[in-house]
Structure formats: C-alpha cells, structure tokens
C-alpha cells in the first residue's frame, strides 16, 4: 500500500501531495499503513479516504479507486448512515463505537447486506482543530449471518417439536423459516403424490401464489419441474419460479433465483422436495448454500420423526383393535371348549376310580392333560372377563376360613416340593363372609400361584383376621418383594415387574389384575404391602361380613387341582439348557429376560444352531467366561435387569478372550437410541422388534458368516507374524477362501433350467473381495438371480456382501419384484457403516411363462441370447445402491423365447487396461452367443476363459449363467425328493415338456393332475425308504404319451378313502393305468393318447 500511495496521482486530490501533508496526517497515515488491523483515515472537509492493506478486501471492487477519493463518492449508498456519524466526530470531536452495524453496500456489483463493527476517533491537526477521523474496523457479516441462521435452524426444530402430525410439523417447520426472510425469501415444501407434487407448506408468498403453486404436474411450465423428479435430488439451482409473489418483502430486494432440494425422510416414503428462494442481497456463497442444506435437513429430520411417530401410533391403534378382537375370540372359544372338556373329564375320572392305578397309566396322562387344558381355558376366560369388565358376582354368606383352608391344602405338597414352609392360620376368622365362593377361590389360587412363582427360599403364609369392616385375608411370602415404584402398578393388567426373578415367565400377567377386579365386584379391596421386616410381599384382601344368616356350604371346584397341576410343571425347575441334545450346528447364546422371547428365539434358531439361553447380561457373561471360544454368536435384548444388553456388549468387547464374538442386538423400536448406542459400542448388527423369522435368520446367518471371515483374518494376522516371506501367497489364498466361503455352495437346478456360478479372485491380493452372486427358486417356481459388487475390497467389503446376500434372499422369499428388492437393499445399505457404494442386478425368471423381470443398480447389462443366436443386452437402468436414500428403481420386463441363455457378470470381466468398456462388452456378447449351446457350467467357464487378459484378472470377477431348456420333446426324466414340496416342480417340468409336445389346455391339465396324484401317492410310500426319491419318466410314442412313476415303497391302493380317490381319478384322467408291485418298489405306468393340436386323440 505504501508503494501504491507513492504512485498515486494526488494532484487532483483536495488534500494534495503527501509531501505537503501536515505532520498530524503523516503520523496518522504511518500508523494506519503499518497496522495489520483494517484501518482508514477520513481527512479534510471532503473526508478523503486513506486506508491500509487489511482494509482493501472490505472495499472489494471499490479498491483501489477509493484511495484518495472523497468519502461520499466512495460510499454513496451508505452515506446516509455513516455521513452523519462522521460529521459528529468532525464537529464535536466525539469518538464513536458501532457494533454489528447493518450497511447495505454495493461493492461487488449487487446490493449486499453487510455488518461491521468500527470506531471513529478524531485526529487533532496542527491548528488544534479536528483534521480528520481515524477508523478501526472489522467486517462481522459472516458471524452475524451465522448466528442468525443458527437461530433459525433451532427455531425450525423447536416449533416442529410442538406438533406430532406430519403435516402440522411440516407447516410449523416451514413457518419457522419466515424468521429469516433475508436468507430464505420464500419456502415451498412439496410431497410427491401419484406423479404430481402437492404443496404441503409455504412461507413468504401471497395467497394467490399459494393457489397457483398448490400442485405441480408435469408440463405445468411453472419452472418447478425439478420437484417432480423421482430420483434423489442434490441441491439444484433454478430460476425464480413463475407465480412466486413475495409478501412482506420489506427491503428484501429482488430474488436471485431458487434452489430445489430433496428431503431425506426414509426410503419407504414418497419423495419430498423443498424449494427455497435465493436472495439477491446476501451472497449465495458456500455459507448460504450450507445453510439452505441445513435448513432442508432440519425439515427432513422433523418430518422423519413425525412420520415415525405417526406410524407408531397407527400400529398402536391397530394393536388395540386386534386386542378387542382377540378378547371376543377368547370368550367365544373358551365357552366352546369348556363343555366338551367337562364331558371328557367326568368319564375319565369314573374310569380312573374303577381301575387299579397300575392299569391306568394312559388314562392318568389323559386326565392330567385334560385338567391342564381346563386350566388354560379358564385362564383365557379370566382374561377376557377382566378385559371386558364383565365379571358377575353372586355373593352369599360363606365360611371363608373353611373354604380357604380347603383350597390352600391342595397346595401343600407343591409348596413342600418347592422346599418352602407353608403356614396356614385361619383361626382369627369366625364370622361368615359375604362372597361368591367360586370367585374367592380364584383370588386365592392366583395369590398362592403368584407367591410360589416368586419365592425361592423361606415360606408362604396364609392368615385370616377380622377388622371393623370385614374379613382380612393376607397371603405373605418371603420372595423377592416388590419395589415401591412398582407397587402402584402391580394390579394393572399385563403389568409385570421388570426383571423379577421367577420360576417361570409363563402366565398372562392378568392374575393380580383379576384379584383386584374380583375383590372389587364382591364389595372388597385388594392391596399389596411389603412383607414383615421388609422381606417378601404381603397381599391383603378385605371382604365384607355377611349381614346375617348361616354360612352356606361351599365346596372347592376342580379348578384348584388344575392350578396345582399347572404349578407342578415348573417345580422343580426345568432342566438347564445345556442338557439339550447337541445338533452340531453353530453355537449361539441368546440373552433375553423374557422367557417367551427366549423360547421363541430358541425355536427360531434351533434348526441350524445349538442355542443356549441366558436370562440377563450377567448370566450371559458367566456362561461366556465359563468356556471362552464356545459361542460363535451372541443375540441379546437391550432392556434387561442386572446387566443390560449394552452393558453386556461393553463387557464382551472389553474382555480380550471374548472380544471377537459377534453380537447381534435386538432393539425395541425403530430408530431408538439404544440401537445407535449398540452399534457405537461395537455390536455387529441390530434387529428391530418386531421382526420376521426370515429377517432374523438372515441376520444371524450374516453375523455368523462375518464371524467366520473374522476368524480367517485373525488366522491371517497370526501367519503374518510367523512367516513373512510367503505372506503374499498365503494372504491371497486366505482372502480368496474367505470370499468363496460366502458364496453359495450349491445352486438350484431343475430339468430345463440350469444355473452355474463362478468366482475368480483377482491376481492382486489387495483387490480380492466384494463380488457376489446368488440364485434361489421360490415356491411359485420363479428363479431369482442376484449378482453384485461392493465397492472396496478385503474383509469389510466381504462383510457387506454377506449381509446383502442374506437380505436379498429374504426379500426374494417375501415375493418382492426386482425393483422393490433393490429399493429395500438401498435402505439396508444406508444403515451400513460408511454407506458403501454397491452395484447390483436382480432378475426374476418365470420359466413356465417365459418371462423375465430385471432391475439394475448401476450394474453392467446382462447378456441374453435366445434361439435365434443374436445376443442382446438387458438392463433396468438405475443408480447404484448407497448413493442416495430417495433413489428409485424400475423393473424391466422381457418375454423369453425358447432356449434362452442369460449371462450376468461383474465389471471385472470386461474391464481391461487401455481398452474401453464398449470393446470388452462387444467381445463378451460375441462369446456368449458363440457358446450358448454349451451346458451352463461350460458356458460360465468359457466366458472366463475367453475374457481373461494375458496378465490375469486385475479385479475380482463373478459370473452367473442360467439356461432355460432346451426341452427334449421325445423324453423326460426327473427325480423328485419324496416330499409334497416337490410336486410343484414336477408340475412345472411336466407343463414345460407338454408344451414342447404342443399339448395344452384340458389335456395338459388332465395329465398334470394324474401325474401329480400318482407322484403324491408314491411319495407317501417312498417316504422313509432309504432312497426317498420318486422318479417320473415321460416319453412320446407316436400319438401316445407314456409315463412311469417309480418309488421304492409298496403300493397300497385300497387303504383309506383318500388313496382310493386318487387312483380312481387317475383312471378317469388317463387311458391306461397299470400298477406293478415288485420287490424293489412300485411302478405305476400311465398313458394317454393325444393329438398335436392339444386335444384328446
């Protein structure tokens, strides 16, 4: 600046050449120029401007013109503000201080909102008067705008929090943006509904504008087409939309345009779009762009939360409805059960009484279980009664002490077997009590069962006394006791003290609620108190005395016996889990405090795993430490007494011996904090309750595969330390083994439908991993094929891949079409740490109808070759997974001709250095066309062979081939596993074969039905035989179709209605049916004459 000052032409300046300046100005100028803080001097009557280097950026375009120019000429636009301030300093010598002063400057070609903090102080000249003004200044525009924007973002969240309906939340959030019109001149929020975009909320525009913009359809030409975009949308600048008319615009100035952004409100929702006005008076710089994005995110978050809440409420309402229906159902069915049960019990008891005990073992079992059934039915009735509030009491004068003693006595032996004292003292009650004996019995049974359930040492006591108002019966135990915080709720329906140790978790949670209800309808009360000395619990029931009269006799019902029978089931405690037979599968530890959940999980996972259960975190930790290395997976609930799921997870990860065990957390609600915490603490996966069986199994499988991969990696690390020299070879082998272990061992195959898969690891160890393929045949006969490629390599890619493969199977079995599967996978990828990018292709083939549906997520196209030998590329276009949460995919449909061959592959197959993908693709399609007649296995090998670069594959390659047909019209032979499930495959194969013989319509139906019956019959015989296979053969013999069905069992045509019906049908459907029974098994021969036009011959 010093140089610039020297070079400046001061001749035209009112303050003259610096050499002529007074000493005071020279001193001030030197101070100014030497400072690194922005400073300037206004000098003389014209307030000529002299400033330093640090000040220059504030001037923007006005620099260097401003140097030596009169102030009013430099800053005409703000002179009305600073002019008077400067005047005051010049004339009155009064120094000033202005903080965050708003100044509307035009310094970069547009009128701009700026803020400054500055001071003016007078400079005394040689005459003793004021020669000029010294100014130190900082621009505070960024911090002022930043604070303002932050406060708006907070406001969005705050105001949205006052509502819970999504629309109200959207309106409140958008209204909050009105606080900052300077940054958001207007805002429009759209939701896409059936191809149009509906305006949900708007801010800053007139009512007329709102009307004009209420719905955006394609071709509306309002300049808002971007809101109709179905793909995910990064912020997109657009011109000011037509019809936008601002209200209360004040000094906003004109609009500079608008920006359209996509909201992220969960993959399953309709896309939402936010349109924000771009102001002209604030620079559309990085800060403002980020603010707009943050505003969009704040609105998204508020909406996501509201929608999740709404879903939860809807679920709640649906559950309540279900609950009512269930109650009605229970009431009906219980009544219907009671009558036959009573009719069953009476003759059983007669018979038992007549026979000697040693000759009635079977009857005893029948009796015991009929009693149990009665008790269960009774529990159902209790449940529905309490639920419906329709207990009717018939109180009468009763000798309550005697009745109580009788009922209690039936518990004697059960209490003794449980190792407890049983102390019954009813002498304190002598007066008759006004009760319904049956209802009292229920009260007592429930209290005694409850006490026995929760008492592990000590004893149970029943005592009776009299108060001023009535009889007082107290059932006291020395059990676990009930904390103060639970005492108020213990009589609520379904309330269970969380984590209370118990002999069993069975029970409806209805017992104590029923006690209170039954006491109430008899004019009494029930309450709970701590036991004597604070140990255990006392339940007290008070019932009114009878007004007068003698006590009527009361006999206990069979209910007491049924109750005790029930209790016997959990005394002594059931055998420990470890006693269960070992199936040799994966060893899984299931941790849940809820017995029902534990049981459910055990049943769910038992098919391919040895399941051990633990009741809480501490129990689990003890089992894990007992035998480190025993368990391959821990599946744990979050909320548990003593040590919860997160505590358990922390303990496992902190224990060197256990740290490697994968942990899958079951969390209670979508988006709950616990799930996030669990992942932060090192959980491998979490499943949200309620979950489907398929989902849980898939997740468990993924977790186990991950564990296996992890074990391989640990192995790898150990080897690394031992032998460095051949590490490369080993690593490659291990990584490849890891990858292979995650691919399906066997692919499905049917006659006329072959599938072959290949995986080749890259030559370079660093890039192994991430490619996968899978194929599965659904029950409806369609074949679902998946191929994919996870970006990145090594263990992490393999882990993602394992998860995706399992999930894909789950979605396929659920019946999703390819596009829906990709949608769901995209949602899954978003939950994976780091959201890896994944390309993937899913195809569903209906071999019978010859239809292909295919959808692709950024994956290279599949090659299809039909009978004409001309290769075609098929691919549903769509973005890769993991790129955008709101992305959508579409399934492309194709008719498949006969003998269609489809080849899928990952990009490693066609990528080659110094060659474009198009060239590689061309070579591939030619190769597939040339090899199409080979069997699928050879075709897959051939593709790899032809495409292989000289130096070997530089990336992983996966290839998946499927070939439909060719169908040999002359003959057919198919082996079926002897299970009814294979009948569907038989019918498919037959229909295909019949079609090849031009047999259709009724003749085809008859033949398929006859063979279905024959095979079904044969399966019943062959089932259990060593071989367990039924073979069906078909052959064309001139105008005759001849079939043979072989099994290795014995044919029994006459046994039972059903069997006979089948044979009779076959004879009506076919011309000839012959059964040959031999040593080896049975062969059924069937034939039917046909004409080629599909009719009968």
């Amino acid at each position: 600046m010093g140089r610039r000052m020297r070079e400046h032409d001061w001749s035209a300046c009112s303050i003259g050449d610096p050499r002529s300046w007074p000493q005071s100005l020279r001193t001030a100028t030197s101070m100014c120029l030497n400072s690194r803080f922005p400073m300037l001097i206004w000098w003389g009557p014209e307030l000529v401007k002299i400033y330093n280097d640090s000040y220059a950026p504030i001037l923007r375009d006005k620099h260097p013109r401003a140097l030596g120019s009169p102030g009013r000429e430099v800053w005409p636009e703000i002179w009305d503000v600073i002019g008077p301030m400067l005047d005051a300093v010049m004339h009155e010598g009064q120094a000033t201080w202005s903080q965050d002063q708003l100044l509307l400057m035009t310094r970069a070609g547009f009128e701009e909102e700026t803020y400054f903090t500055f001071s003016y102080s007078p400079i005394i000249d040689e005459s003793g008067g004021i020669g000029g003004v010294f100014c130190a200044v900082t621009e505070t525009t960024p911090s002022v705008l930043g604070a303002r924007r932050l406060s708006v973002l907070n406001e969005v969240a705050d105001r949205a929090a006052h509502h819970d309906d999504p629309t109200a939340v959207a309106r409140a959030a958008i209204a909050a943006l009105e606080d900052d019109r300077a940054d958001v001149p207007f805002a429009l929020l759209y939701e896409q509904v059936d191809g149009t975009a509906q305006l949900v909320a708007a801010a800053g525009i007139s009512d007329a504008s709102r009307q004009a913009l209420a719905a955006i359809r394609p071709q509306d030409a309002l300049g808002l087409d971007a809101v109709l975009d179905e793909e995910s949308l990064p912020p997109t600048r657009v011109p000011v939309p037509r019809d936008v008319e601002l209200v209360d615009a004040g000094d906003l100035g004109p609009l500079a345009g608008a920006v359209v952004m996509g909201l992220d409100v969960g993959a399953t929702q309709q896309p939402w779009r936010l349109v924000l006005g771009v102001p002209s008076r604030v620079a559309y710089d990085e800060d403002l762009q980020r603010f707009h994005e943050l505003a969009c995110r704040a609105v998204s978050a508020a909406l996501t939360h509201a929608i999740a809440l709404q879903d939860e409420r809807r679920r709640g309402a649906a559950l309540a409805e279900l609950d009512r229906a269930k109650t009605d159902f229970f009431t009906n069915i219980s009544h219907e059960f009671r009558t036959p049960l009573t009719l069953l019990l009476a003759p059983l008891e007669d018979e038992l009484a007549r026979r000697p005990p040693e000759a009635s073992e079977g009857l005893q079992i029948a009796h015991r279980n009929a009693m149990r059934l009665l008790r269960l039915v009774d529990a159902l009735l209790d449940f529905s009664r309490a639920e419906g509030g329709r207990v009717v009491a018939e109180p009468r004068p009763t000798d309550l002490a005697a009745l109580t003693a009788q009922v209690a006595s039936s518990f004697d032996s059960a209490v003794a077997d449980a190792g407890l004292r049983f102390d019954v003292d009813l002498d304190g009650l002598t007066r008759p009590v006004q009760v319904d004996p049956e209802l009292w019995e229920r009260i007592l049974l429930n209290l005694l069962s409850n006490a026995l359930k929760h008492t592990f040492a000590g004893g149970i006591a029943v005592r009776a006394s009299e108060s001023d108002h009535g009889a007082v019966i107290a059932v006291t135990d020395t059990g676990i006791g009930i904390g103060d915080e639970h005492r108020d709720r213990i009589f609520d329906r379904f309330y269970r003290v969380p984590g209370a140790p118990s002999r069993t978790h069975e029970g409806s949670g209805i017992g104590l609620a029923l006690v209170a209800e039954l006491a109430r309808v008899q004019g009494g009360t029930a309450r709970v108190e701590p036991g004597p000395g604070g140990v255990g619990t006392t339940f007290v029931v008070e019932l009114p005395f009878a007004a007068s009269g003698e006590a009527l006799p009361a006999e206990p019902s069979p209910l007491a016996a049924a109750h005790v029978e029930e209790i016997r089931r959990w005394i002594p405690e059931p055998a420990a889990d470890d006693a269960r037979p070992q199936t040799g599968g994966h060893r899984i530890l299931v941790v849940d405090d809820n017995a029902d959940m534990r049981d459910y999980l055990r049943r769910l996972l038992a098919a391919d795993a040895d399941v051990t259960t633990a009741v809480d975190g501490e129990d689990a930790l003890a089992r894990l430490r007992e035998q480190p290395g025993r368990f391959e997976l821990v599946v744990t609930d979050v909320m548990m007494p003593r040590l919860d799921g997160l505590g358990l997870l922390t303990a496992i990860r902190g224990d060197a011996e256990l740290a490697g065990i994968p942990v899958l957390v079951l969390s209670a609600r979508a988006g709950s904090e616990a799930a996030v915490d669990a992942l932060d603490l090192g959980a491998d996966d979490y499943v949200v309750k309620p979950f489907t069986a398929t989902e849980l199994r898939a997740r468990v499988r993924s977790a186990l595969e991950l564990a296996r991969a992890r074990a391989v990696e640990t192995e790898l690390q150990r080897e690394h330390a031992l032998r460095m020299e051949d590490l490369y070879v080993r690593e490659h082998r291990v990584a490849e083994a890891l990858q292979r272990s995650l691919l399906p061992e066997r692919l499905p195959a049917e006659p006329h439908l072959a599938v072959a898969g290949r995986y080749v690891a890259a030559e370079d160890v660093a890039v192994v991993g991430g490619d996968w393929y899978d194929a599965v045949i659904l029950n409806d006969g369609s074949l679902v094929l998946t191929i994919g490629d996870v970006a990145g390599h090594g263990l992490s890619a393999a882990a993602v891949m394992a998860q995706l493969r399992s999930a894909t199977r789950g979605y396929a079995l659920r019946g999703d079409d390819p596009a829906t599967m990709l949608q769901a996978l995209n949602g899954l990828v978003a939950t994976i740490d780091g959201s890896p990018m994944v390309t993937c292709q899913v195809a569903r083939i209906d071999a019978e109808r010859r239809r292909l549906e295919i959808a692709s997520a950024g994956h290279p196209p599949a090659v299809l070759v039909e009978a004409d030998g001309v290769p075609r590329m098929v691919a549903g276009a769509g973005p890769p997974l993991g790129v955008a949460a709101a992305a959508t995919w579409h399934s492309q449909e194709e008719e498949l001709g006969d003998d269609a061959v489809l080849a899928f592959y990952t990009d490693g197959l066609i990528e080659r250095r110094e060659e474009s993908l198009a060239v590689g693709l061309e070579r591939l399609t030619a190769a597939v066309a040339r090899l199409r007649d080979r069997p699928a296995e050879e075709l897959a090998d051939g593709m790899l062979e032809v495409m292989r670069p000289d130096e070997g594959y530089s990336d992983d390659v996966a290839v998946l081939v499927t070939a439909l047909g060719p169908v040999d019209a002359a003959m057919l032979s198919v082996d079926l596993p002897a299970h009814p499930r294979s009948l569907a495959m038989l019918r498919r194969v037959l229909r295909r074969w019949l079609r090849a013989n031009d047999i259709d319509g009724r003749a085809a139906y008859d033949i398929v039905l006859a063979l279905d019956e024959t095979a079904s019959n044969a399966m019943e015989h062959a089932y259990g035989a060593a071989d367990g296979t039924v073979t069906v053969e078909a052959r064309r013999d001139g105008p005759h179709l001849r079939f043979a069905v072989d099994d290795r069992g014995r044919w029994r045509a006459q046994r039972g209605d059903h069997r006979g019906r089948g044979l009779g049908m076959m004879r009506l459907l076919m011309d000839e049916v012959e059964v040959e029974t031999g040593e080896e098994g049975t062969r059924v021969l069937l034939s039917r004459r046909v004409t080629t036009d599909g009719g009968d011959g």
Partner: protein, 116 residues
C-alpha cells in the same frame, strides 16, 4: 414368503366367513390353508363361502380339504358354499374325483357378489 397357495379371509357382519384361495392347491399347500380355515371357523356362526376363482390347480388333497370342511361345518349346523367359475380348469378335478362331488354346494359366483 411366496407360497403355492394363499388364503385371504374376511368375516362378514352376518357371521359368514368369506375365504378366497389363490394359487395351486396340492398336498404341500393344503395343510397350512386347512389350519387357517379351522382357526377362522372356530368363531364363525353362520357358515363359510370359499372362493376358488383364483385356484389354478386342484388335486385330491384339495378336494379332501373341501370334504373335511363340509363335514366339520355340517356337524355344527353351518353351510359351506364353494365358488368355482364356469369353465375354470379345476372343475375338471371335481368332475373326476370319485366320491360324490355332488355333496358339495358349488356355485359359479359369490352369493352376494362379494369378492370372497
């Protein structure tokens, strides 16, 4: 989970349960369908209308399911009506099944036009 045959159930206010089966009814698919129908009928008062318009294949195990249902309902003084459109391929199965399909009450369309 994709299944061979699926069952949709609606209980009408008049106490009649309307069931609609779609897919192929064979030895593999009948047990699950039967279990669901039995459960639904526990609370039915008036009868069952079973719409087989969407059934593309029916074998003797499916026919047996119908007979069992009929027996079960008759004992409780309820009625079974089976809907099979005219010309449906599965009419052939009922035609050839030897033990009197005439015992079943078969109509060509749902009695009150309800989808089932």
């Amino acid at each position: 989970m994709a299944e061979l045959a699926t069952l949709d159930l609606v209980a009408a206010p008049d106490g009649v349960v309307h069931g609609r089966i779609t897919g192929e009814l064979d030895a593999a698919s009948t047990p699950a369908i039967r279990a669901r129908l039995d459960a639904a009928l526990a609370s039915a008062a008036a009868g069952l209308v079973l719409d087989l318009s969407g059934v593309t294949f029916l074998d003797s195990s499916g026919v047996e399911l119908l007979f069992r249902l009929r027996a079960n309902l008759t004992m409780r003084a309820m009625r079974l009506t089976v809907v099979v459109p005219a010309g449906a391929p599965i009419r052939r199965t009922l035609e050839v099944s030897d033990s009197g399909a005439h015992l079943l009450e078969i109509v060509e369309a749902p009695p009150d036009g309800r989808p089932g």
